[in-house]
Symmetry: C2
Subunit: 356 residues, 2 copies
């Protein structure tokens, strides 16, 4: 630790300016000087201090990202995609989890701002409570919301078109013969839960079928399991269940199986996200695939085009998802067959039937 460019310059017998120039190549130096400097640098094991560079350049080369939790596989795939996209621009990612708590989220925002990240990508955990801190941050640094967003539309957003998603899900189970559908999702503290419920109600109304009261809890396996037990305890099962995410769907499937209900013969189940293990549960899950890589690419693109203080109106980009039909939904009744046994192992969906 602690070999600076001064040490390199001294060892090479030149000034710090020459050493800096030789190493960065921003201005020409004699071949001789370049040679001596680079050799001195490697010999001493010189590693430029990114902190000093950041202070001088007023740019850190880092993007901060805050998601509610990395235990949720949907968020981990988003994070991976964003990281992948940032490679292109040479930025590093500072990742934080808000643990679904607005206070922790606000604290994380503050430390990231203090560390002078060049931009922020956030999925705010709460529709209302997250708003002040997010808007404040957006005033200081380019900020893009992904997946979830805050009320009031004060900041850019990239996400999925939930109306389209739920229309596809509902239309699919209706085409399979369902006449009563229940929606199992999270309570409405975040935008995703709100939009998806709204999309569901719109879709059932348009399809002219019974939309039973939604079951709202959390986006977790445990809640899906609990909701499944609640359905079993009710008078009659609905023809189909549409879930707010795949975790819920998997928990629900498990409850149904333990209750002796056959899926999809007695009831269809549709998930949301298409996380990695959706294809590996039993039976393989019919679900709406989020266009995660596109969302990440769009978020990074937006981030680079945002200029703080520019009074450009906030943008909302909703990308249309695709339904991936596997085996938890009844085949459509008009002669089209469902996918063969086994589903896919690759998870890239090539072996799955998909809507076009």
């Amino acid at each position: 630790m602690g070999v600076t460019i001064h040490d390199v310059a001294r060892a090479a017998g030149v000034s710090v300016a020459s050493a800096s120039r030789a190493l960065s190549g921003r201005r020409k130096v004699t071949a001789e000087v370049a040679e001596r400097v680079t050799r001195a640098a490697t010999e001493l094991g010189y590693r430029p201090n990114a902190i000093a560079k950041a202070l001088r350049d007023q740019t850190t080369g880092t993007i901060g990202m805050i998601v509610p939790g990395i235990g949720n596989p949907f968020f981990t795939t988003i994070v991976e995609s964003v990281e992948h996209q940032l490679q292109e621009t040479g930025h590093d990612l500072l990742l934080c989890a808000s643990l679904y708590t607005p206070e922790i989220e606000a604290r994380r925002l503050n430390t990231l701002l203090a560390r002078r990240v060049d931009g922020l990508i956030i999925s705010p955990c709460d529709f209302e409570a997250s708003a002040p801190a997010v808007l404040n941050a957006a005033r200081q640094v380019p900020l893009v919301q992904v997946d979830r967003y805050i009320e009031g539309g004060g900041a850019d957003w990239v996400g999925v078109d939930d109306d389209s998603a739920l229309a596809q899900a509902v239309d699919h189970v209706v085409a399979g013969g369902a006449r009563s559908v229940v929606f199992v999702s999270s309570r409405l503290m975040n935008s995703s839960a709100r939009l998806r419920l709204a999309g569901f109600q719109l879709a059932t109304a348009r399809a002219g079928i019974a939309s039973l009261p939604p079951l709202l809890g959390e986006f977790t396996l445990a809640w899906g399991f609990e909701a499944g037990q609640a359905l079993l305890a009710g008078d009659a099962l609905p023809d189909a269940v549409v879930c707010g995410n795949d975790e819920i769907a998997v928990g629900l499937l498990r409850a149904l199986r333990l209750g002796g209900v056959r899926v999809p013969e007695e009831i269809s189940v549709v998930g949301f996200d298409d996380v990695g293990h959706a294809a590996m549960c039993d039976p393989p899950l019919t679900t709406v695939r989020q266009p995660v890589e596109e969302m990440a690419a769009e978020a990074v693109r937006l981030l680079n085009q945002v200029r703080v203080g520019d009074p450009r109106p906030a943008q909302r980009i909703a990308i249309a998802p695709r339904l991936v039909v596997r085996q938890t939904s009844r085949p459509v009744t008009r002669g089209v067959v469902t996918a063969g046994a086994g589903g896919t192992m690759t998870g890239d969906g090539q072996e799955d039937k998909e809507t076009t």
Copy 2:
């Protein structure tokens, strides 16, 4: 952006020194000055520049962490635990993924060192190829390995006692009547794969039962599925399968189910890690639980006690895990019954039978 302590000092009508002292409280100032400075700071929205502070203090308040991938739920729980532990010391986490590639890992190490992290926690992806970069990093900054480690023992490590883990797994299936056991795991490019295979062979030898040739691929669902199909295609199924992690076990269970094999009646399956969904697969998975929170606490403790350049010998801390018996393994034949139907939803194992 850009309100500095100079601006605050000017607004408060004092010098920068007084402003700094009033805000940090490191030296006494008049109540009057303190009052004026804090008011000026809040009015201007002053946010101290962590970059400048880091440069001056020669400490960033950040710990870098590198794991092979955050798609693997085991690593995400480790990350969450480490983050949780770091809260105590007020450090922030800079998280990176090596994507199971030594070159990317080395690059990540370099950028984290350039950013002058105060310490590094790493799970090196490759037993051999990761070694040079990790050892080099350990020379510059306190470094602790978690879970995986590199050859040669040049850096501290915290992990699970794989010998104990596999002894428990093997003894358990043997107690259930198994006489032939096959080990399905990853190829031996990382220490976990090596130690677990060694532990497995030791345990089967001691139990005096047939250890069939291991099936080695990757720590993924897909490989578990493939290995399951390979077993089905063989002459006779073994009595039991012990897996290198839970992903493999879940994939394998799925292959066995599709092949019409009943678990645990015809074959016992034991996983490794006890990730969140192990209790939610079907049937709920018997597995060895990694003491993740303890490992994280131990890693952070070690990190704080490491002094660079101190010629203290590298430490290895192996924490004993616990077998969590659920329903993929046959009950032991000596009158002890297995856990009831359903498993647990909480994932904290309270409803699971555990070895003591």
